[in-house]
């Protein structure tokens, strides 16, 4: 399997460990990643609020790059997945398409609308398949209770994302079970992490992320895992602030999706960039008998 790898901004910067873990897992599962240094930022939902058509045009350019290479896109961020998919949806509007085409044509860029955008979670559960992953597990995550945290834009609007239920998904839990972990079901798993307003009103953003972490914990989670590096920033990066907002300790290790898979397939903590996390993952690793990180 060969895919156009769209890592997104965060996985190339503060969330580098996500990129490391993705590359490790894809190598282990025989997924060939083709990089394109010409991909631009997806707009992260923020640009869409300032100028929708410009955002769609920039993403049409991204999609055209993959289309020209004859490849589908692989995203590793719920927000990238959402914004690139939305560009495909919004280009169905003739007015939007007209303005976008007019901006791209002078640059010699044509997007015919055929590039598919797939998040790693979908590629793993649908294209690679749970049985194939199960067959490669060398260190089942037995005894580890993990709360999946989806990230809004991977799921919703569900009629436009055209995959899982927007409120009752199960792909991530299925994957967690396949690598031997015990999935934890809690309401917060499909809710917002607070990230979109982290810079608008931090106190509210932190209350929201603390709520989801508390919810996962109340349902017995030893750790959380997310397919979105922006959720990871809220849940892990700012967890100390969220704890202050909540008025109690949270102490919740938060994995990136490919880290959970990588651990089960035998990667070391260092190969998956676990020492880069703000909240130590040692406790969770001890549960599955893996070497603790410094």
């Amino acid at each position: 399997m060969k895919l156009a790898y769209y890592p997104g901004c965060v996985a190339q910067e503060s969330g580098k460990e996500l990129d490391m873990a993705t590359r490790w897992v894809c190598r282990a599962l025989g997924i060939e990643l083709v990089g394109f240094p010409s991909f631009s930022c997806c707009g992260s939902g923020f640009m869409d609020e300032a100028n929708e058509v410009l955002n769609v045009a920039l993403n049409a350019r991204n999609l055209a790059i993959a289309e020209k290479a004859g490849l589908d896109l692989l995203t590793i961020c719920s927000t990238c997945q959402g914004m690139l998919s939305l560009a495909n949806v919004r280009l169905n509007d003739p007015t939007v398409k007209g303005r976008v085409d007019a901006a791209l044509k002078p640059l010699g860029i044509e997007y015919r609308g055929t590039a598919k955008v797939k998040h790693l979670l979908r590629v793993l559960t649908e294209d690679v398949g749970l049985d194939a992953i199960k067959a490669k597990v060398v260190r089942p995550l037995s005894g580890l209770k993990v709360g999946a945290f989806y990230g809004c834009h991977l799921l919703r609007p569900a009629d436009e994302m055209n995959w899982e239920s927007g409120e009752e998904p199960h792909a991530f839990e299925d994957l967690l079970a396949a690598v031997g972990a015990t999935p934890v079901y809690y309401r917060g798993r499909v809710m917002c992490c607070g990230f979109p307003i982290q810079f608008v009103k931090p106190a509210t953003a932190e209350r929201i992320s603390a709520r989801q972490i508390d919810d996962a914990k109340a349902h017995g989670a030893d750790a959380m895992a997310t397919p979105c590096p922006l959720c990871h920033i809220s849940l892990d990066g700012y967890q100390n602030q969220a704890a202050k907002a909540a008025g109690h300790r949270l102490d919740m290790p938060v994995f990136h999706l490919p880290q959970v898979v990588g651990l089960a397939l035998g990667a070391t903590a260092e190969e998956l960039g676990l020492p880069r996390h703000m909240v130590p993952t040692d406790g969770a690793l001890a549960k599955i008998g893996s070497k603790a990180v410094a």
Binding site: E13, S44, R99, M191
Partner: protein
């Protein structure tokens, strides 16, 4: 055979299934703790949840309190939680819920005080709606004609074709995590309705409305789209809020952190095609904000030193710049 007849026949041939209901019960007048009461009915899978609840009330337990009226998804009275999702009970069939969950758990809506059983106090929801001044404030330059109705072109009506469908059921308000976390957020319906008046060509208060909402909760929307999933009338409130944000940015962007962040992001990507995380903090929160973020920044920098690096421009950054030139003509807001 007509489609209606075919459907009737299909319903008639449906086998009855056992539907276990667990219904939230609470009566503050009698004191005591909230509890779930279990009922079982034999129902055809297409039966609406509301029909089930009314049968419970009529045949098993007359003390069950719930709000409903039209039974046809018109009045907006019977919104509640069906297996944790904010839904109109009259529009939600029992079959798929039983298939997915094995039972149907019914709770009152979220984010509103519970009066009794499934009945909530909607006053806070209505108060927020009223704060939007949800009525036409006529543009004096476009007065109502004396001798007939005022006219709008189809293009003008097209801009707000979704919002008049709203039946004010509050399912969106119940589903919203921003409402849950911050009393300053007016809620999805209030903002969707506000949008309707902002783009109404007969309304003369557009600027004042945008100015007021910019600093009163507009930018607290998390764009999680949970309201759009909950909305039984496809108003798609999250998308109306997005539209409202873009209008606010165009009209008077950069006056508070929310629009500064959106504009900052837009400008941030123009220079390298990819995000400069550190620069974004300054663009949104100013130099003061950058200083305030310093302790957390240093803490993160120790583990993630990349956050202080400026990203290399992507290949083809000139293309990106040309797309900006073509589509970001109105240079928006103050930097």
């Amino acid at each position: 055979m007509s489609i209606a007849e075919e459907r009737l026949l299909a319903f008639a041939e449906e086998k009855l299934v056992t539907v276990p209901f667990d219904v939230y019960r609470y009566d503050p007048a009698r004191g005591g703790q909230p509890r779930y009461q279990h009922y079982e009915l034999r129902l055809a899978p297409h039966t609406p949840v509301l029909t089930g609840l009314l049968r419970i009330r009529d045949e098993i337990d007359p003390t069950l309190a719930l709000r409903y009226s039209c039974r046809s998804a018109i009045c907006g009275s019977c919104a509640m939680l069906v297996n944790s999702k904010s839904r109109l009970a009259c529009k939600t069939p029992v079959g798929p819920e039983v298939k997915e969950h094995g039972r149907i758990v019914i709770d009152p809506m979220r984010n509103q005080p519970i009066l009794r059983d499934l009945v909530v106090d909607q006053q806070p929801f209505w108060n927020r709606y009223e704060q939007m001044e949800p009525h036409l404030i006529l543009d004096p330059k476009r007065p109502m004609p004396k001798d007939g109705p005022t006219r709008m072109s189809p293009t003008e009506v097209e801009r707000f074709k979704e919002t008049p469908r709203c039946i004010s059921c509050a399912a969106c308000y119940s589903a919203c995590p921003a409402v849950e976390a911050d009393p300053e957020f007016p809620g999805p319906m209030a903002l969707a309705k506000l949008y309707r008046f902002v783009v109404d060509p007969r309304d003369g208060a557009t600027q004042a409305r945008l100015q007021k909402i910019q600093t009163n909760g507009l930018w607290l929307c998390l764009r999680c789209h949970l309201c759009t999933e909950a909305c039984p009338k496809e108003v798609r409130p999250s998308e109306r809020i997005r539209d409202l944000k873009e209008l606010a940015v165009e009209a008077q962007g950069g006056t508070e952190p929310g629009s500064r962040h959106a504009i900052g992001f837009l400008k941030n990507i123009e220079s390298a095609g990819t995000l400069n995380e550190l620069k974004l903090v300054r663009q949104t929160s100013g130099l003061g904000g950058l200083v305030a973020a310093l302790p957390q920044g240093v803490r993160m920098w120790r583990k993630k030193p990349e956050i202080t690096k400026s990203p290399h421009p992507i290949e083809g950054i000139d293309e990106v710049k040309k797309i900006y030139e073509a589509l970001d003509g109105k240079k928006k807001g103050k930097e």
